[in-house]
Every structure is written in structure tokens, then in C-alpha cells.
């Protein structure tokens, strides 16, 4: 499904040191091909969110080189935060329209794009609802619709489902995969859940904590579409074990 010939994101020896002296990333390398679904997996505080923010251009690397679509102007990157991060005073449609509004997009075209983005995440009946009237899962769907409304090449997701209950999370995982297959965008997905990363990704980058470095890269060659059958298959369990072991080694600071 991916076309590995075209690299869309490339981080080389990236380091990030905060003013407090905390080293979030150290000699961090990451290449993501166009159309790929890659997960960054690691314990909290391992710098995976920092890496994502650097790719988004929300944070700058202290050292190393960063290449990505962020330099190409607004709207090439969609970002989904851990919280839905919606404007409480605006309804679903207005929240989803925000990126287009900020780029002064054509009114009629942006209305069509908003309607389509809302329909894609299954919220067509809730366009006029305010965030506080929605469930946690629906707020997150709104947030995903907003990230997709500019049709970005790259979708960055920072533990988007961590605060949701398991049933909702499974549903959103499934829907995210369906969207990914439909739209063929590149996704970088940050998570601390082994099970979520195996279920979703083509490739998992396991990170060490403090400082954040790449510990191992594990390919998950299971075919898509993946569904509940995959989630309960021995194959899935096997991948989870492999990734789990890599993660515990990474946390123990061992060598692969």
C-alpha cells in the first residue's frame, strides 16, 4: 500500500533539549514514506510527543535536520491532540471549518469540504451540536474531521484515543483504518499502547525513555483491511508479544 520510494518525513540526528535541561530527544532518526502508517511507541516522557511536535513545526529541534511537509505552508499537516481541543463556543461545523477559515478559503468550497469531513467521521447528524453536547468519542471524531478538512498529506496523532474507554477506542481504531485506506494519507501515530500500535500500524518505532531514541523498528506485515478478526487472531497476539518484549527491553535500557 505504501510507496516507499517517496519519503515524506525525514528526521536526522534530531536532538531536543528543553530550557529546564531535560533531554527529550537525542540523535533521533525517523523516515516515513508517503502513505505509510507508522506508530511511535514508548512510555510517557520518552519524547515521542516532542518528536511529533517537531515534525509539525510546533516545536523546533535543538539539533539535527528535519524535513517534512510543514515548510510547504499551512494545511499540509493535520494534527490531532490528546485532548479533542475544540472551541467550546463553536458547533461541530464551525470547529471543523476553522483551518479553512484561517486560510481564507473560498466560502462555497469550504462548506462542501466541511460537510464531507464531518460525514467521513460519521457525525453528519451532529454538525450543529456544541462540543459539550457530545460524548468523548464524538469530540475526538470532530477533532479528526478538523485535521482532515484541509486534505493534508500528513496526519499527526498524539495519543488521540488515550483518554477514551476501550469500546470507543476500538471503534475509533477501526474507523481510523477505514479512513486511512480511503484517503491514503501518511499517518504518524503516537501511543503508549502496544495493542493499539500493532493493530493500526505497518511499522512501529519503539523508543527508549530519557533521552528519546529509536530502540527498534518493527514491521507489522499483516494485510489490511484489519478488523475484529485480526484483533483476536494468534498472529496479532504474536506481534503484540514481539513488540511488548522490545518495549520492555527499551525501558530497561538494554540493547536490541
Amino acid at each position: 500500500m505504501s510507496s516507499p520510494d517517496k519519503t515524506i518525513v525525514s528526521l536526522r540526528n534530531v536532538g531536543k533539549t528543553f530550557e529546564s535541561g531535560t533531554v527529550a530527544l537525542d540523535r533521533f532518526n525517523l523516515d516515513v514514506g508517503s502513505g505509510e502508517f507508522v506508530s511511535l511507541l514508548g512510555p510517557s516522557g520518552c519524547g515521542k510527543s516532542s518528536a511529533l511536535r517537531i515534525v509539525a513545526g510546533l516545536s523546533t529541534a535543538s539539533e539535527g535536520s528535519v524535513e517534512g511537509p510543514g515548510g510547504a505552508g499551512a494545511g499540509h499537516i493535520g494534527f490531532v491532540f490528546q485532548e479533542p481541543t475544540l472551541m467550546p463556543w463553536a458547533d461541530v461545523a464551525a470547529n471543523v471549518r476553522l483551518p479553512l477559515k484561517l486560510s481564507d478559503a473560498d466560502e462555497a468550497r469550504s462548506r462542501a469540504a466541511v460537510t464531507q469531513a464531518i460525514a467521513r467521521v460519521g457525525l453528519a447528524d451532529f454538525a450543529r451540536a456544541y462540543p459539550r453536547e457530545l460524548s468523548g468519542g464524538m469530540r475526538m471524531r470532530t477533532s479528526i474531521a478538523r485535521a482532515l478538512v484541509t486534505e493534508p498529506e500528513l496526519l499527526l496523532m498524539d495519543e488521540p484515543f488515550a483518554a477514551l474507554d476501550e469500546i470507543t477506542r476500538f471503534k475509533l481504531n477501526n474507523d481510523l483504518l477505514v479512513l486511512w485506506q480511503q484517503l491514503r494519507r501518511t499517518v504518524i501515530f503516537v501511543t503508549h499502547s502496544v495493542f493499539e500500535s500493532v493493530y493500526l500500524s505497518q511499522r512501529i518505532v519503539v523508543m527508549t525513555p530519557r533521552p528519546g531514541r529509536v530502540f527498534a523498528e518493527i514491521a507489522i506485515p499483516a494485510p489490511y483491511p484489519r478488523d475484529e478478526r485480526f484483533r483476536t487472531s494468534p498472529e496479532y497476539a504474536g506481534f503484540c508479544r514481539t513488540v511488548s518484549e522490545a518495549l520492555s527491553q527499551a525501558m530497561a535500557g538494554g540493547v536490541p
Partner: protein
Amino acid sequence: MSERALRIGLPVVTLALVVLAWDQIVRLCAIPPYVLPGPGLVLATLIADSSLLWQSLLVTLTITFEGFLLAAFGGVALAIAFNQWRLFEYSLYPYAVILQVTPIVAVAPLLLIYLPQPLAVLACAWIVAFFPVLANTTLGLNSVDHNLIALFDLYKASRWQVLWNLKLPAALPQMLAGLRIAGGLSLIGAVVAEIAAGSAGAGSGLAYRIAESGYRLNIPRMFAALLLLSLAGVAIFFVLSALSHLALRRWHESAVRRER
């Protein structure tokens, strides 16, 4: 009885009991009206002097309203300026605080010396009322969700877009709370200045009527004017609360009715 009926009914019952007790005490102890007039006499005075008191009420309300508008626009504008230019905030904020903490009763006589009387009264109303608008709006502008700011950054929003589409709507609840306080305070500022001006022998607002009636021992009229002032304060509070509710009812927790 429902919660709502109790909330409206009980204060009315309390009022009736207090007025009844007041009336009975004045009658039974035969208190002369120049010491304490009964409620009936106050009401009669209110009606008898209605044209005079009404004129004065209009004067005071006009000044209150003008002071409130200046405080609202001035407070919000200053808060926006503080938010946009940090150095401007550092230079001026301490003086805004000083203006607020210096008792207005002490400032009013001075203002009356330097400014024409109507302007001095207006200035007093403004000084008292603008600070809560400034302080609350500043708080609101500074407590915007940082992830939303990051989102606006991601889409390369201009400063103006961040202010207009993010900071101002986010600050609206605090801004409205500030305005609600400012409404009551601008009435207080106007009254204080009128009292100060009244002793200098000028003015025709309600507070001036109170001072004047005091000198003439016309206690019933003092009560009648005081009653009008309180009613004006209550009305201002209700109007501003209703505006705040209308603006926030769809989205803000403070205005959302919760089912139990």
C-alpha cells in the same frame, strides 16, 4: 413546591415580613417621621415627589450608563492592548492597580476641582468600573487552551486571527463576569461623585437628592431616593446577567442547565 417557586417566593415573603415589622415598630413606638418614616410614608413620598425623583434618577442612570460604557470599552481595549504588547502591560498595569485601590471617595473631591462637574462624576464612575473589566478580560485572554494556540500556529494564523477567533471568544465568560461587576460599580462611582459634588453645591442626581434631603431633614425623601437607587442597581445587575446568560447559554458550563 418547586425549587424555582421557592427561589422567587421566599425572598418575597421575607420582604413582606420586614416591611410589616418596620411598619408596626414605627406605629407602636410612635417614631416621628424625621427619625424613621414608615413604609407607607416612604411610598407616599415616592409618589408625591415622583417627577423630581424621576428626573434625578435619569441623571444618575445616564451617568452610570456612560461610565459603564466607557469602562467596558476602555477595560476591554486596555486588556487587549496589554495582551498584545507585553511591554505596554508592564508599563501601565501597576498604575491601573493604583487607580483601583485608591478609595474613590478620596479622589472625587480632587477630580471636582480639575474637571467640570458632569465630567468629574463621569470620571469617577469610570475609574471605579473599569478595573474589574480590565482584570477579568486579561485573565480570560491569558487562559486560552495552549493546544488551541498550537493549532492556530499550525495553520499559520495571524495575530489578529488568534485574537479575534480564539482569544476574545475564550475570554468572553470572564469578560462578561467583569462587566456584571462593573455595572454595579459604575452606579457606586456615580453616586460617590454626586455626593462629593453635592456638598460643593452642584448636581441634580439621585445621590445629590439624598444629600440635600439629609440637610433638610426630609427623611422620607431620603428613603424614597435610596429605594430608587437600590432598584436601579438591581435592574442593572439583572440586565447584565441576562445578557451574559444569552451569550453563554449554548456552550459555557456556568450558563448550562444541568439535568439531575
